[in-house]
């Protein structure tokens, strides 16, 4: 099941959406090697989890893909385009919802459109529909401080979808929420990304969550940050929470644990 990046490419495979070759990032003039020799492809419409302990370069990798920081080595492209700076091919979501406190949920969702152009009635309708899709149709005119943490992340998810980007980069999006809310949001996230046919890179340090959501789990390790394995998760979709109790699922959990060096 463990493969290297080289074996990912087969002759007749469609071109990957995200393609990374030997990507490295060094911070602070050589003092911190945040990422080293990262190679992987992400296929159209697939869901990839990045899992690993704190400091192994997960957020760095995500920011590199978004073009928010510059890589120090290697090549990296999205949709076949070399990444040289911030670009709108990807949408971002962080652990903190980073909503604007002075905007209603609806206005927050509309923000990406406002930045691109003057929103039309159709844009507003779409933003409203997205809020309904994440279960917040009744809270369109609430402000972030009037919403719970889980609801705020739902708004952030709707905003992410409003960007229209077909590549979603999520950095521990539900990491600050309680277990119960997180499980529910994970299931909804799977439904929603399948519905909008997005390609998703999902960062987490929760192994079960990483496997449950993903088609591929990229296992990372720290000092220096690097990819130690890419593991396929072959389960059918849609998946339900009961999958997590199956023998095959737990075999993969074991495999990831072993790779991470936790026994």
């Amino acid at each position: 099941m463990t493969r290297t990046a080289e074996t990912l490419r087969t002759a007749n495979a469609p071109a990957p959406i995200i393609s990374a070759r030997d990507v490295g990032k060094i911070f602070g003039g050589g003092s911190v090697v945040a990422l080293q020799g990262a190679s992987f492809d992400v296929a159209q419409g697939s869901f990839v989890s990045l899992v690993g302990p704190s400091g192994c370069g997960k957020s760095t990798l995500l920011r590199l893909i978004a073009g928010l920081i510059e890589r120090t080595s290697g090549s990296l492209s999205v949709h076949g385009r070399d990444i040289t700076g911030p670009h709108t091919d990807v949408g971002l979501m962080f652990q903190k919802a980073t909503l604007l406190d002075w905007r209603t949920a609806l206005e927050n969702v509309l923000l990406p459109t406002e930045i691109a152009r003057t929103p039309t009635a159709e844009d507003k309708r779409r933003a409203f529909d997205l809020l309904k899709m994440v279960g917040l149709g009744d809270f369109a005119f609430s402000f972030p401080s009037q919403l719970s943490g889980g609801m705020q992340q739902r708004v952030a998810l709707a905003r992410l979808l409003q960007t229209g980007a077909d590549v979603l980069l999520l950095d521990e999006p539900f990491g600050a929420l309680d277990e119960f809310t997180r499980e529910r949001l994970n299931v909804e996230l799977m439904r929603i990304v399948a519905e909008v046919r997005a390609t998703t890179v999902f960062v987490t340090h929760n192994i079960v969550e990483a496997i449950f959501l993903a088609d591929q789990v990229v296992v990372m390790s720290p000092r220096p940050g690097r990819i130690s394995a890419i593991i396929d998760v072959p389960f059918e979709r849609p998946r339900t929470l009961s999958l997590q109790t199956s023998v095959e699922f737990n075999r993969i959990v074991e495999e990831v644990r072993t790779t991470l060096g936790e026994h």
Binding site: L92, E107, K124, R125, F128, A140, F141, F143, Q146
Partner: protein, 282 residues
């Protein structure tokens, strides 16, 4: 608990306050009448009240002074705080300028602004201009420092989010940095307007030609203490009005910092988009 039960202790508290206040005034009055209190320092409340009547209603001589002083306060405040916010934003947004200005800002902040007042008069000369300049000076710093820090302390995740949406520098400023800084800028404006009131008095104490400060000096020189007190209590009322007015303005402008503002604006925005929300029933 019923509303009536809630109101009763509040009423009782108000009554207690009123009783204490009236007792103090009565004691003051009795002490002054009996000659226990030096009338030079503690003129009788009844005498102060009579002075209020005289200077506001009979002679009406306080009105022009009041008008002059308040005009200066608002002119100096407007110019000083606009300069403060503008320069604060420019300095805050420009890392290079900020680095070079930092030490000077610290030195200037540590210097009591009032100390410079005589120098301003020497430079600008007597008259309204130098008074406005003094008020500008005392009004400048709080908005300047607050705007600067508000603009500098932008959340890094939010900034990255805007960049990834393809936002221009101008959009980042207008849609993220400035609104984010509004509450702290408003706090600076509150400080500035309060400082303006002190500023105008200092200016008028130095140039004793007109204004409420000059009037206080005149009354004091003539040992007309009840009238001087009437002027001082007038300033108390103005200071309180400024404080309350700015508080209300603050809560309206930075509406998202208080429950009531969120509710009010939320309802307004919902009403503005009634067709959109209505769509889900139809």
């Amino acid at each position: 608990m019923t509303a009536g039960a809630d109101r009763a202790p509040a009423l009782r508290r108000a009554a207690t306050h009123a009783a204490i206040f009236l007792s103090l005034i009565a004691a003051w009055e009795v002490g002054a009448q009996a000659g226990w209190l030096d009338p030079l320092f503690f003129p009788a409340p009844s005498a102060i009240l009579a002075s209020f009547w005289r200077i506001y209603v009979v002679q009406m001589n306080i009105w022009p002074h009041l008008g002059v002083s308040l005009g200066l306060v608002f002119a100096g405040f407007a110019i000083g705080s606009i300069l403060g916010v503008g320069l604060g934003a420019v300095v805050g947004l420009n890392a290079l300028v900020r680095r070079f200005l930092q030490p000077y800002v610290i030195v200037m902040e540590a210097t009591p602004r009032i100390a410079v007042a005589p120098l301003i008069i020497a430079a600008v000369g007597f008259g309204a201009q130098s008074k406005i300049a003094i008020i500008m000076l005392v009004c400048f710093f709080a908005p300047f420092i607050n705007t600067l820090s508000g603009v500098v302390n932008v959340n890094e995740d939010r900034l990255q989010l805007f960049r990834s949406m393809g936002a221009s520098k101008w959009q980042i400023l207008r849609k993220l940095v400035l609104p984010d800084a509004v509450p702290v800028i408003m706090a600076g404006e509150r400080l500035a307007l309060t400082a303006a009131l002190s500023g105008v008095l200092v200016a008028e104490f130095i140039q004793r030609d007109q204004g409420i400060g000059a009037l206080i000096l005149t009354y004091t020189r003539n040992l007309n203490m009840p009238s001087a007190f009437a002027c001082i209590f007038t300033l108390t009322a103005i200071g309180f009005a400024i404080f309350k007015g700015m508080e209300i303005l603050d809560r309206r402008v930075a509406f998202w910092t208080n429950e009531e503002g969120l509710r009010r604006v939320g309802l307004a925005r919902a009403a503005a988009h009634a067709t959109l929300a209505g769509g889900r029933h139809g």
